[in-house]
């Protein structure tokens, strides 16, 4: 077999093997020329990452064609009168609330949506590049309960809990965006999401994915975000918010759900329009069937959005798993959650659209081994799938409860997974044939400059313990659960997120006050 090694290939760390590094020892330098690659490698194949593909391109096309056929043959039930009008004008077949979509129209919408979306942080710095196989993890939202990290109590979330979620998101290095981690219940019910956004935007600089009851609430959020960025155009140019709106599968779209997607498209704010799929419940029990429903549901929102605002940024995806056929829950720990999400990620990439996926959650009710197994597995698979946004880190009890302790543990797991995603660098510097020659048989590498230069590439744990036994006992013989709890509490007690300017805080409060007045007026009539 003829083997060549690349000579002019730039490595990921920016080190060129042909240029001597400043810290190279004279001994290393002396022998180096003898073993350097002598060949120019053409079309040398490199695996930069172990990321995988669950579905082939042909299979993705079959799934997409299935969705196009469903939309043309069965169609969707659309309860939004605005959307019905948009679909009728666009050339769909509309019979009452049933809309059937000609495939060419859907294909046009897929083509006109951007294949990449850049999300900025609160300051406008470009932070999340939703393109290719880039993966960004974050928490979940709309949980009914919260697991208090100080008292251990499972209770209804308050606005102060979403403040805590924002502080934890802000502090955890591998958590890239914020969500509410629980529906705020101690405020006007219809403004729960508006208050959640205020709590998030005031306490983290990271991007925010936000849901809302209706279009009015989306407007409130846009106004708050525009206040932060100093105007609507600045927000559109460097959006730090992503809207989230759900369809009502199978093939059904509430007025609010679709109107919110249309609103986001008109406002040119990125939006996730996604179904929540219970395999065997609101979709076929077969995974390919679930993917078809997920794609078809998304496409209805996409067509509406592209019709009103061509090129509006849409993100595909959804929460997909099996319906547990005894308890009828949507399982967060099922291997099918990972497989379905990874499969849909392939279809999204095939369609040239960014993908919103799910991982890092559990069906467990307490901080335990089941939680860790389910969360770690799904985080790894989501990373390997290359889904652009992965939400759900912190979702316990099949999503019913949000836990910042789980999110803190997930942060550690994500660190491990991101290391795995970097793969193995293969070049002269990393092959280290020179170093082996210098050290010789039976020697050791601990004192080599090469080791100095590279050992920090090892992933270093922060919560996982690799102490020897005695020092571990000396530190209190703590379990992972104890360390996670302590770190979570430490973050919440001590982390200081960057404060917004007083003027901006005032503008945000004014939007909240306006929303309160509006809702008070509604309930009065």
């Amino acid at each position: 077999m003829y083997e060549v090694r690349p000579s002019n290939r730039q490595t990921g760390s920016g080190i060129n093997a042909d240029e001597p590094t400043a810290r190279r020892s004279s001994r290393e330098g002396r022998v180096r020329d003898l073993s350097r690659s002598q060949y120019v490698a053409s079309n040398y194949q490199v695996n930069e990452t172990p990321q995988f593909q669950v579905l082939s391109d042909d299979q993705c096309e079959t799934i997409l064609n299935g969705a196009l056929e469903v939309l043309e043959r069965t169609g969707a039930e659309v309860q939004s009168s605005a959307a019905l009008e948009i679909f009728r004008e666009a050339g769909c077949w509309v019979e009452g609330a049933r809309v059937r979509f000609p495939s060419h129209l859907v294909e046009k919408a897929i083509r006109s949506a951007p294949s990449r979306i850049t999300i900025s942080d609160r300051s406008g710095k470009r932070a999340m590049f939703l393109e290719g196989n880039n993966v960004y993890y974050g928490p979940g939202s709309s949980n009914i309960y919260t697991l208090d990290p100080f008292t251990g109590e499972r209770r209804q979330p308050t606005k102060s809990d979403t403040v805590r979620a924002a502080i934890a998101v802000d502090a955890l290095p591998s958590i890239s965006f914020a969500m509410d981690n629980g529906t705020v219940t101690d405020v006007t019910a219809t403004l729960s999401d508006v208050h959640a956004f205020q709590a998030l935007v005031e306490n983290t600089t990271k991007p925010i994915i936000q849901s809302g009851l209706g279009v009015d609430q989306f407007q409130d959020v846009v106004d708050m975000a525009a206040a932060v960025r100093g105007g609507m155009e600045a927000l559109q140019q460097n959006p730090f918010i992503i809207f989230y709106s759900e369809s009502s599968p199978p093939l059904k779209h509430s007025a609010e759900g679709l109107d919110k997607a249309i609103f986001a498209a008109k406002a040119r704010i990125p939006v996730i329009y996604a179904p929540c799929i219970f395999a065997g419940g609101v979709a076929p029990a077969t995974m390919a069937g679930c993917l078809v429903v997920a794609v078809a549901d998304f496409l209805v929102g996409l067509v509406a959005g592209q019709q009103v605002s061509e090129g509006a940024p849409f993100i595909m995806g959804g929460l997909m798993s099996t319906m547990e056929m005894s308890s009828s829950i949507l399982s967060y720990g099922a291997p099918e959650l990972s497989l379905l999400s990874a499969g849909l990620t392939c279809v999204a990439r095939h369609m040239g659209l960014p993908m919103f996926s799910t991982a890092g959650g559990t069906d467990s009710k307490v901080i335990d081994t089941q939680m860790a197994i389910e969360a770690a597995f799904s985080i790894l698979i989501a990373g390997l799938s290359g889904a652009n946004i992965v939400h759900g880190c912190g979702n316990m009890e099949y999503g019913a409860t949000g836990s910042l302790e789980l999110m803190t543990m997930d942060d550690e797991v994500i660190g491990m997974v991101k290391k795995i995603l970097k793969g193995v660098t293969v070049d002269d510097e990393h092959l280290a044939v020179d170093v082996m020659d210098a050290v010789g048989p039976g020697g050791h590498f601990m004192g080599e400059v090469h080791t100095m230069n590279h050992f920090r590439e090892f992933w270093a744990p922060k919560l996982i313990s690799r102490l020897r036994y005695d020092p571990w006992v000396a530190e209190g013989a703590k379990s992972m659960a104890q360390r996670v709890k302590e770190k979570t509490q430490d973050i919440l007690s001590n982390h200081q997120p960057e404060r917004l300017a007083d003027g901006v805080l005032g503008e945000i409060q004014a939007v909240v006050d306006r929303a309160e007045a509006r809702e008070a007026g509604k309930s009065g009539t």
């Binding site: 309860q79 609101v282 056929m325 019913a400």
Partner: protein
């Protein structure tokens, strides 16, 4: 005259609609008592299914197939029975409250109740408090079940209970609540008579309330 309905019960347990219909017809043709066909055959089989579901031996799709098999037999037996003689565990009104379009969980409860021998009046989704009041006043139902999937629409459960009270019907009927965001605490808070976390629990709850 006695007739052996064991095979009919088994056909319901197996979820075989064609077989249960054929066996029911065969029994009726042989002159079997239609009420006995229901109680000793169809409902008896469904009782086994309910117990097996509860113990985790059977799963939701199997229960629904069995319910369908039971209904296939019932449809044949029912026309031969006077309404007053029709065996029923009780009558339940079900609906998803105003502002909430979620249908599936409520329908699951409906099918499970029917398979447990209850008569169900399913009002549908997005039901105004006044519509619940009208349904309660016009029927002799024992229980009214309110469903909500959203934290925002849970509030309509309280409004519905208040409307029943305002119409003077609150003592006439038991009110039960359910849905993803609903808890026992919430049920107590709004003055409901009962809460169940899932469809299986709803059956036990209704049985306890009508007993």
């Amino acid at each position: 005259m006695s007739y052996n309905f064991d095979e009919l019960a088994e056909s319901v347990i197996a979820g075989d609609s064609e077989l249960s219909a054929a066996l029911t017809q065969q029994a009726l043709d042989a002159g079997a008592n239609p009420v006995a066909a229901i109680t000793d055959g169809l409902s008896k089989g469904m009782g086994v299914v309910g117990a097996r579901f509860k113990s985790g031996e059977m799963f939701v799709p199997e229960v629904l197939m069995s319910a369908r098999a039971m209904t296939a037999g019932m449809d044949l037996a029912k026309p031969l029975i006077l309404a007053a003689d029709m065996p029923s565990s009780g009558k339940v009104i079900l609906g998803t409250v105003k502002g909430d379009l979620h249908d599936i969980g409520k329908n699951l409860v409906s099918m499970m109740l029917e398979s447990a021998g209850f008569t169900v009046i399913n009002l549908g989704i997005d039901i105004e408090p006044e519509t619940f009041v009208k349904a309660v006043s016009e029927s002799d139902a024992d229980v009214v079940g309110l469903s909500a999937m959203l934290t925002t629409t849970m509030l309509a459960m309280k409004a519905t209970i208040d409307s029943l009270a305002a119409a003077g019907l609150r003592n006439k009927i038991k009110v039960i609540v359910g849905g993803a965001p609903v808890s026992q605490d919430f049920a107590d808070e709004i003055g409901a008579d009962g809460f169940a976390p899932d469809a299986g629990g709803a059956i036990d709850l209704c049985k306890a309330l009508v007993a």
